[in-house]
Amino acid sequence: MCLAVPSKIVSIDDGGIAQIDVLGVRRDCSVRLTPNAKPGDYVLVHAGFAIQVVEEQEADETLRLLQEMSDRELAEITGQQGADAPAGEPAAAPAAAR
């Protein structure tokens, strides 16, 4: 559960209230739960509170690993089956029917 949107900290006032930006939308949020957050950081914001500083390196690393993994998988699949029909095409039945 729990919607939490990555947001950039624009500024933080003395009371621990930060102004955050999501794709140009701004609002206030508390950084009380992320005391190390600083302007310029990206944070996950839930219900008006920053709950985590987003790890940029981790994001890059995750994407790199996924890319590698899928390249490998792809090589295996194409190696095994030649030019197979692409898997994962949507089934005809709508989601709710399953």
């Binding site: 559960m1 990555p6 739960l33 990206y42 509170f49 899928s70 998988e73 029917a97």
Partner: protein, 367 residues
């Protein structure tokens, strides 16, 4: 390369297709049920059409993921009784407005003229309390561990400011006890859990370890973009393939293994575990969060004893069976009769993306 908010990379169709290929290959010859226990996962899976993209043999079940939808009739009845106290302002999250009590909803009470306001943050409720010193302001809180520390911090602020007109009703829930309760049920056939991303942001991985150690069921913490969810599914299938059961983190950019320690302390400072009733699931021991006696001045449940109507828990609701995948929604005797999208009974119908709500809409379209 990606930047922190470069969500497009985690929505990249090419990467998603490649992951689907991997899932297809890993799923061959298998018949597995994977459960997510997070309303936002439910929404993402629906929004990006991931369920229909799964190969045969991989079934995505929606667990009791929306923490507000599982708020019990008794909790809603109490909230409504609070809203009926003259001259109060009642604030809550938008999710709570439609959840039914024994005879009515907060939305219907608002139609009757009660001052019920939807807020984005409990801090907005606190602002109402500061701006309206003669009026009592209630915040009706629901949510999992993601939300609880925010409410805790708000209570602490009210406490420190001596804001005597601010009260919280806590219907907060804890996730791990619910997951264990599902696994404890002998009928449950869940082969792996897609673990909630933002709950884990707070809790870290430790509370899920018993899932792997005690029940030998794998769990992977997932983010909310399609690539996140697909990679979590692939990692679950890989574990099942190897006969492994580990708790893994596939959402490293948002979840530290130890979680957010400051937020954990905030929960412990303001709340203590209690037994809680989950709509459709019944009482789960230790799965609630009650406000500690130290903050009784801000605890609506202690500071007020309004006349609560006798609670009628919905009879015949089989949400628990639906969300464990034991029965299809239309096998529930209430489905489409007493329980519809506009007058929902169980959490699977209350949540607009819940199993029953989705099934109900599908039937509407076939008419």
């Amino acid at each position: 390369m990606a930047t922190k908010t470069d969500l497009d990379s985690f929505r990249d169709p090419k990467l998603a297709r490649e992951l689907l290929d991997a899932i297809e290959r890993l799923a061959r010859g298998k018949n597995v049920n994977l459960m997510e226990v997070c309303g936002t996962h439910t929404v993402s899976i629906a929004r990006y059409g991931l369920r229909s993209a799964m190969p045969e043999g991989v079934h995505l079940l929606s667990g009791p993921g929306c923490p507000v939808c599982v708020t019990s009739n008794h909790d809603i009845d109490t909230m409504i009784a609070l809203a009926r106290i003259p001259d109060v302002i009642v604030t809550t999250f938008g999710d709570m407005i439609r959840v039914p009590g024994s005879s009515t909803t907060l939305g219907a009470e608002r139609a009757q003229g009660r001052d019920v306001r939807v807020v984005y943050s409990p801090l907005d409720a606190l602002a109402f309390a500061r701006e309206n010193p003669p009026r009592r302001v209630f915040f009706l809180g629901g949510g999992f561990e993601t939300t609880t520390p925010a409410i805790g911090a708000t209570i602490l602020t009210a406490h420190d400011e001596g804001l005597g007109n601010f009260f919280v009703y806590s219907a907060h829930k804890r996730t791990p006890p619910a997951i264990m309760a599902i696994e404890d049920d002998p009928e449950t056939q869940v082969n792996g859990f897609i673990l909630p991303g933002h709950v884990s942001t707070i809790t870290g991985l430790a509370p899920y370890r018993p899932l792997a150690e005690r029940y030998h069921v794998p769990g992977v913490v997932s983010g909310f973009e399609p690539v996140d969810i697909l990679s979590a599914i692939a990692r679950l299938l890989a574990q099942i393939d190897e006969g492994q059961a580990r708790i893994e983190n596939a959402y490293e950019r948002g979840v530290l293994d130890e979680g957010n320690v400051v937020a954990q302390r905030m929960i412990d400072r303001v709340f203590e575990p209690c037994d809680a009733t989950w709509r459709g699931l019944g009482v789960i021991p230790g799965s609630g969060s009650a406000i500690r006696p130290e903050f009784a001045d801000h605890d609506a449940a202690r500071a007020f004893s309004p006349d609560v109507e006798p609670t009628v828990e919905p009879r015949g609701c089989r949400c628990g069976d639906v969300l464990r995948g034991v029965i299809a929604p239309d096998r529930c005797p209430l489905f489409g009769r007493a329980c519809t999208a506009e007058h929902p009974v169980g959490p699977c119908m209350v949540s607009s993306e819940g199993s029953c709500a989705a099934y109900f809409r599908y039937q509407e379209h076939s008419r």
